[in-house]
Amino acid sequence: MSALKPLPRWADVALLPLLNLLLAFVVSGIVVLAIGHNPFTAIWAIITGAFGNGYNIGYTLYYATNFVFAGLAVAIAAHGGLFNIGGNGQAYIAGLGVIVVALALQDTHWLLIAPVAILAAALFGGVWAFIPGYLQAKRGSHVVITTIMFNFIASAVMIYMLNRVLKPAGVSGPESAMLAEGARMPKLGTFFAPFNYTPVNFSIFLAIAALIGVYVLIWHTRFGYALRVMGQNPTASRYAGISNSKMIMVTMTLSGALAGMVAFNEVFGVQHRLVLDFVADAGFVGIAVALMGRNHPIGIAFAALLFGALYQGGNELQYVISGLDRTVVVIIQALVILFTGAMEGLFRPGLQRTMMLFSPEQKAEAIARETVKSES
């Protein structure tokens, strides 16, 4: 038998992730079933909980906004062959930039604050990712380990900042002061009534802009080309005269800046203050989103929406089936990462074989083989 041919692009990009996703759902369904609940009831509860009405959709879009940023952060690094699992820490530290700027400017207008806050978030998140990038580029320390360590360091830094530095007098919990009314990103609900009382805000337009921006950057710029060359073959890129170490540092900074936008959405658009652990593992969801979306902005948009829906649907799940809640979603999320990321090769050989049965070359070959056999 001849060697397996690579899959056609559509199968690689769409079919394989879908099969993996389906497997993740089936396994999650088995877990739910094992506990004695009906998985179909659970799925229906998640779907209606995510899209049932304007309120649900508003929340879904709010989560999706975060996941777009986190997914893009992972994806842009992945194109350069880097695995940034420090999105949580980068977003967390970026919150510091957002709140400092927003508090300083809170007597002005939100339109003035927004661009400065975006820059601050990008700067803080970027710097927090630049350091691991620098250490990999110049000192050879693996970016994965350093970003893990930086997640924990960020957490320690933020606990200190919230407890000792940013906590205003008279507040007991570890949180910063509240932003003034006029210094908040407007909610979509103010303009579009069905989204009333939901946290989805103007940051969603920034997310869309980021999707387009990353697409242009990766596939239509000189930088993007160099980035992909480095990701595919670092040796070739070095011989082509690209400075890999510079590319690593720039890429990680960009990745961290994108992760920082999670803080922009959360702090400036939703919480209006800095609270403990506001990132809520969005950085890790970003890994699943980027894996599912095959590091392409269109894929990431869909994957972010899917995870937004899972999150919101998961929240609603507990009101429908007592005992089931968001942790089901964490399991699904983990299985998605497992199947689409680590076990990506699970279906590939089978699918390749199946595809070959239907390809014209294969048929011709099979007929030829038959003829040879009958002649001999």
């Binding site: 506990i35 250490l135 380990i145 360091i153 830094v157 999320q333 983990a334 680590a342 076990m343 090769g345």
Partner: protein, 321 residues
Amino acid sequence: MDYSALLSLLDATIRLSTPLLLACLAGMYSERAGVFDIGLEGKMLMAAFAAGAIAAVTGSAWLGLGAALIISIMTALLQGAAAISLKGNQLIAGVAINMLAAGLTTFLGQQLFRQGGRTPQLSGDGRFGTIDLPLANEIGQIPVIGPIYSELISGHYILVYVAFLAVPITAYVLYRTRFGLRLRAVGENPKAVDTAGISVIKLRYQAVLITGLLCGFAGAYFSIAQGSGFGNNMTAGKGFIALAALIFAKWKPVPAMFTCLLFGFLDALQIRLQGASFGGIEIPVQAIQALPYVLTVVLLAGFIGKAVGPKAGGVPYTKER
């Protein structure tokens, strides 16, 4: 600080470094064989839950430990299947395992016991008791050195002794046995091992199995020795500290023990230092908490020596046709 306070600080150090040491040695087997393992946390969490749940149901700490070992090994096999057989990204496999463990343990805990993800409080035979070494009382009477034996060395949970015994065993296995030689070789140059006619896949699975076993001990320690029952996310990042310790010890057993003791000491100190101040300057507890991570980053950057891991680490092996 007086003598008895120092002793109790060191005693706490031993207790806190035990799970780190077990997890660190666990990681050593798999990373020495060329499989990066950032899923230590997940395996410990699964094991801690299994131990807590089974001990709560059966009332036996030993059955709890057995369950912990089985579940941890199964988790390790799942991760191994992704990282070794399916040639997936080892780092992503680790991330997935950690997340799966966090979700599953909370979910199952809530479903089975309905106490917010906790298992019921364990008591009596459901928990490991501490072991008094022979003559602890008698030797303890000797001034100054007596208490070192009776308080520091004696009177720990059995898993503490398992952990510290695992250090010389690991050193022996890695450096003095044929299996250890092959294990180290497969992490440095799997092709050479393959050419010699030894199965890379089989060796890596064996390494991952040992990793699962040791993580099982570590996890059980959390819920049925040190703690009395499983609590949500009770490993709290210890798997990553163990990973940091592994790098810090440059993937060597004896340095691993000392690094884990150092990190355990920092942990004990941090608990003791809550709200304390030195000469008017208060050291933030968070600074001490972050110290192991900072040290690891500094070490990895080569500022205090160079940490070079096994050369073939992180790369799935593909046999040439």
